[in-house]
């Protein structure tokens, strides 16, 4: 997540100091991705070093410095709005890894894994939906964040349904095949069952 760009974007609305920016951020995202004040000040320091923000005046009586965007900073935010968010290179997905291993290793009850996961994800999805109902149209930013999590859960459940359908089409577990080419792992006791029919 880009803390840098979030802070620059908030500063578009006028100067602010660190604690204030953190609060503004969390108000919009409902504390879904908590920021600590230290992170905020470190980032502001880096932005100042890079000439994207500057202090908006002297420290106030509590010693807080408000920051404002420089012209370069303004350009940077405009760029951020204009350009699509970059995907991290296929972020590691524990569930996909788990199932990839489960369908290729002997003695793992894949069906059970799928069902257990789907029930858990469904429960999470329901709880997110309750939070959303409670927000009840009064907090657009927070609801959109919740909905992004809702759609992510939904995608996972759909994928699990798909996995289940593919497994049941495959029939009994001994029909499963490892991707490893026959012979390539000769002597490897871990890839015995089914591997030869692949």
């Amino acid at each position: 997540m880009s803390i840098k760009h979030s802070l620059l974007a908030l500063l578009q609305d006028g100067p602010g100091y660190g604690a204030q920016l953190r609060q503004e951020f969390e108000q919009r995202t409902g504390g879904t991705w908590p920021l600590n004040v230290g992170q905020v000040y470190t980032t502001l320091g880096r932005l100042e070093r890079d000439g994207l923000v500057e202090s908006a005046g002297a420290a106030d009586e509590e010693g807080r410095i408000a920051y404002q965007l420089t012209d370069a900073g303004r350009t940077e935010v405009e760029q951020w709005w204009a350009v699509p968010v970059a995907r991290e290179q296929t972020p590691r997905n524990e569930l996909a890894i788990k199932l990839a291993l489960a369908v290729t290793l002997p003695g793992v009850d894949v069906q059970r894994i799928v069902q257990t996961q789907r029930t858990a994800t469904m429960t999470h999805l329901r709880d997110l939906t309750r939070l959303k109902r409670r927000a009840d149209g009064e907090d657009l930013a927070w609801e959109l964040v919740l909905e992004s999590l809702v759609f992510a859960d939904e995608a996972e459940v759909r994928w699990l349904d798909h996995v289940e359908a593919r497994i049941s089409r495959l029939g009994p577990p001994e029909a499963k095949a490892s991707r490893t080419a026959p012979g390539a792992t000769a002597g490897n006791a871990g890839v015995r069952e089914g591997a030869t029919n692949g």
Binding site: G30, G31, T32, W33, P34, Q115, R118, T119, T121, M122, T123, H124, L125, R126, D127, L128, T129, R130, L131, R133, R134, L149, V150, F151, D153, E154, V157, R158, D161, E164, A165
Partner: protein
Amino acid sequence: MTQQPILRLDDVVRTHGTGNTAVHALRGVSLTVRAGELVAVMGPSGSGKSTLLNLAGGLDAPTEGAVSIDGQVLASLSRAGLDRLRRRTMGFVFQDLNLIPSLTAIENVSLPMELDGVGVRKARAAARDALGKVGILELADRFPEQLSGGQQQRAAIARALVGDRRLVLADEPTGALDSTTGEAVLRTLRDQCDDGAGGLLVTHESRHAAWADRVIFLRDGVVVDATGDAETPESLLETGV
């Protein structure tokens, strides 16, 4: 809010045909829906979801086991008694909608109340209210063929909700709807349950099933899994969701 079951299925079996060609649509399903509760049913195509709903609504009879509504076993009711129970207590949204083509949207919605002896004026007022809830009040005087698929779907939902039905049975009610309209329908169904109705909702969409208190998963005619009852969603926030 969770005392008397409105709907109860006890070890229900539904088999079509006999012998080698028998189709086991449901193979022993038990389920309770209480007042105030919305239960969602999910599962692959052919897993028995519509069969379950039709049995719950008395449109089909179980091969074995019993279905009861408000403590009355449906099989013990006369034809007329069952019809009356259906009209007064139950609202249906069918998978294929079943709107009557020769009636306008509002006539379709008010018909069940009128059949039940409610005065036309009063039934129409309730129907307007229900059409408003699903957002198609301005289409009240159109015939089904003059409505889009999603609008027909909403008319069918209004018909199921009108007149404070205490058990709402909905089979894929959000199929043809976009995401915000689908959500509005779920919100309406949820409100009806929060006001004391019981609801049974068949859906393919987990995002919609998530409005239910419980979700049961059907597969080849048996319940393979179910979510537990809701906990406090605040615990999600503490862990950063």
